[in-house]
Amino acid sequence: MMTPARRFAYSLAGLVALAAVPTLFPGYHTSLATEMLIFAVLAMSIDILAGYAGRTPLCHGAIFGVATYVVLYYVTVEQGNPWVAVGLGILAATLTAVVFALLAIRTSGVYFLLLTLALGMVVWGVCNRWTSVTGGENGLRGTVRPEWLADQADLYYFVLAATSAAALGMWRFVNSPFGLTLRGIRESEPRMRTLGYNVPLHLFIGFVVSGFFAGVAGALYAFFNSFVSPSTVALAQSVEGLLMAIVGGVGTLFGGLVGAFLIIALENVVSSWTERWSMVLGLMFVFTMIFAPEGVLGKVRAVLGRRARPIPPRNS
C-alpha cells in the first residue's frame, strides 16, 4: 500500500500533467484527451462491479448511453437548460441501473453477465425502434454544451475537473467500509451472509452507484460528442468499456484510467489507417483473455516483478 503522502504526490503530479495537455497538445489531441477522460470514468464505474463486487457487467454502455440520450433529447428537442439536462441524464441512468440491479443481483458469474447483456440490448432495441423520441438510426444531433464551454480547451478543463471529482468519489466509495463489504462478497458470498451482511442489498447499492458514475460519463459524453445514435448504447460500447477496465486491471480502479488511455489511443491510431477497428477490438479481447487476463498492466507489473498486484478477479 502507498502512504497517503505518496499517493497525494502521485495524484497531484498526474493532475498537473493532465492539466498541461491543452497547452502542450492543442487542437485535435486535446479533444482526444477529453474523450479518454470520459471513458476513464466509464471504465472505472465498470470496475466497481467487475473488480470490487466480482460481478462482470455488460450493460454499462447502455446505462452510459441513456444519460447521453436524455441530455441530447432535453436540450435539442425540449430546448431545456443544459445543466438541468445533465441532472436528468444522470438521474435517468441511475434509474436504469436501479431496474437492472433489481433484476440482475440475484445472479452471479456467467448468468450475471448474460442477464446484463440482455438488459443492455433492451435499451439498444428501444433506442433503435422508438424513432419518434430517439430519432432511430439517425440519432439525435445538436450542440448541448453551454457557451462558456464551447472552446475545446475549456471543455477539456471542465471534463478534467468532473473526472477528478468522479474518480475521487469512486475511490472513496471502494475504500469505504461499504466497499470492503463488496470485496468480501466477491471473495465469499456465503461467508458474508453468515456474518450477517445483507448481500443482495450491498450488491444493489454497488450496482446503482456504478450506474450513477456511468451516467456521469454519459452526460459528459453528450457535451463532448453533440451526437448520439444507437451505436452509443450498443453492446460494443459495453464491451469496449469492459475491455478498458480489464486492460487496466480489474480491482485497481485507476487502472481504468490507463486502460481508457491505451484503448482510445489505439483506436485512434488504428482508425487512421483502417476502418476495421471493431475487428481489432474483438481480437484484442480474444488475445487479452488468452495471454493477459489479469490485465495488460498487471502483466507488465508481474513481469517487472513489482510488489503491487491487482486483486485477481473472481473465478476467472
Binding site: V110, V239, M279, F285, M289, I290
Partner: protein, 285 residues
C-alpha cells in the same frame, strides 16, 4: 384470412427458427459450461455461407447442408484453437467468445458488405400454401417442419443413443464419465461442433425469411439468450418452451407495441428470473 391465426402461425414459425439456433446454444452451454456469445455470429456466417453456396450451385438443399457443415468446421476451429487456452475459466471463455463475435461480425462486413441479402429459396417452397380460405407462405411452414424435426432428432440423439447418454452424463458429471474410461474430450468437441452446426443451419433457414444484414447476429443472439435464460441451461424442453414463449411475445409485441417490442419480451423474462433464477428447467450447477 383470420389475422390472429396468421399471427399465431408467424409466432410458431419464428419459434421453430429460434429453437434451431437456441438448442445449439443451450447444448454447448449445458454440457461444456461455455457460453458461446459468438453463436449469433455463427448464425450470421451460416446465412452468408448458405447464400454463397446457393448462388454458386443453385441448390437450396446444398446451401443448407453446406452452411451447417461449414459452421461445424468453424466451431471446431474455435474450440480447438482458441477455447483450449481458457479451459475451466468461465468468465474468460465468455469474454473470449464475445471478442470473437465482434471480430467475426466485422469480417462478415468486410466480405459481404452492409447490404441486406436473402438466401434464395427453391421453386417448391415459394408462394403460399392454400387450404380452403386460408393461405400461408410455404417457406415458413417448411421452417416449422425443420424445427420440429430438429427437436425430434435431438431428443432421440440425447435420449436413445449411447452418445446421447454420454452427453447427458457429461452434463451431470464430466469428471466421473472421464474416470470411467470414456474420452469425454471427444464428446465435448462433437457437442461444440453440433451446437455450431445448428447455428449454421439456423442461419441458412433464417437467411431466407428474416434476411441477412450486419446486426442480425446480435439480434438472434439476444433472442437465444432470452430463450436459454427462460428455459434453463442445457434443457431441450426448456429451449423449446422458451422459444415458443419468446417468439410469441416478440411477434405479438411487434404487432401491438411495435416501438417497445423488446420490453414485451424481456419483461416476462425478468419476472420469471425473479422467481426462478435458473430458468424453468434449469438445474443448479
Amino acid at each position: 384470412m383470420n389475422m390472429t391465426l396468421f399471427q399465431i402461425l408467424n409466432g410458431l414459425t419464428f419459434a421453430a427458427l429460434l429453437f434451431v439456433v437456441a438448442s445449439g446454444f443451450t447444448l454447448i452451454f449445458g454440457l461444456m459450461r461455455i457460453v458461446n456469445l459468438a453463436h449469433g455470429a455463427l448464425y450470421l456466417l451460416g446465412g452468408y455461407f448458405a447464400l454463397a453456396v446457393a448462388t454458386k450451385t443453385g441448390s437450396f438443399t446444398l446451401a443448407v447442408l453446406g452452411a451447417a457443415a461449414g459452421i461445424a468446421v468453424v466451431g471446431f476451429i474455435i474450440d480447438r484453437a482458441l477455447l483450449v487456452f481458457v479451459k475451466g475459466f468461465d468468465l474468460r471463455q465468455v469474454l473470449l467468445t464475445l471478442g470473437l463475435a465482434l471480430a467475426m461480425n466485422d469480417l462478415a462486413l468486410v466480405i459481404w458488405g452492409g447490404d441486406t441479402f436473402s438466401v434464395p429459396t427453391p421453386e417448391w417452397l415459394r408462394g403460399p400454401l392454400r387450404y380452403g380460405e386460408m393461405a400461408y407462405p410455404k417457406y415458413r411452414l417448411f421452417v416449422l417442419a425443420v424445427g420440429i424435426a430438429v427437436f425430434a432428432g435431438l431428443w432421440l440423439l440425447l435420449n436413445r443413443t449411447r452418445l446421447g447418454a454420454l452427453i447427458r452424463a457429461g452434463v451431470d458429471d464430466a469428471e466421473i464419465v472421464d474416470a470411467m474410461g470414456v474420452d469425454i474430450k471427444r464428446v465435448f468437441v462433437f457437442t461444440f461442433m453440433l451446437g455450431a452446426a445448428l447455428a449454421g443451419l439456423g442461419g441458412a433457414l433464417g437467411g431466407a425469411f428474416l434476411s441477412l444484414y450486419p446486426t442480425a447476429d446480435s439480434e438472434i443472439l439476444v433472442f437465444s439468450l432470452a430463450v436459454v435464460i427462460i428455459g434453463g441451461r442445457g434443457s431441450l424442453a426448456g429451449a423449446a418452451i422458451g422459444s415458443l414463449l419468446v417468439a410469441m411475445l416478440a411477434n405479438f409485441g411487434q404487432v401491438w407495441f411495435p416501438e417497445l417490442a423488446y420490453f414485451v419480451i424481456f419483461g416476462p423474462m425478468a419476472l420469471l428470473l425473479a422467481f426462478r433464477p435458473l430458468g424453468l428447467f434449469g438445474k443448479a450447477a
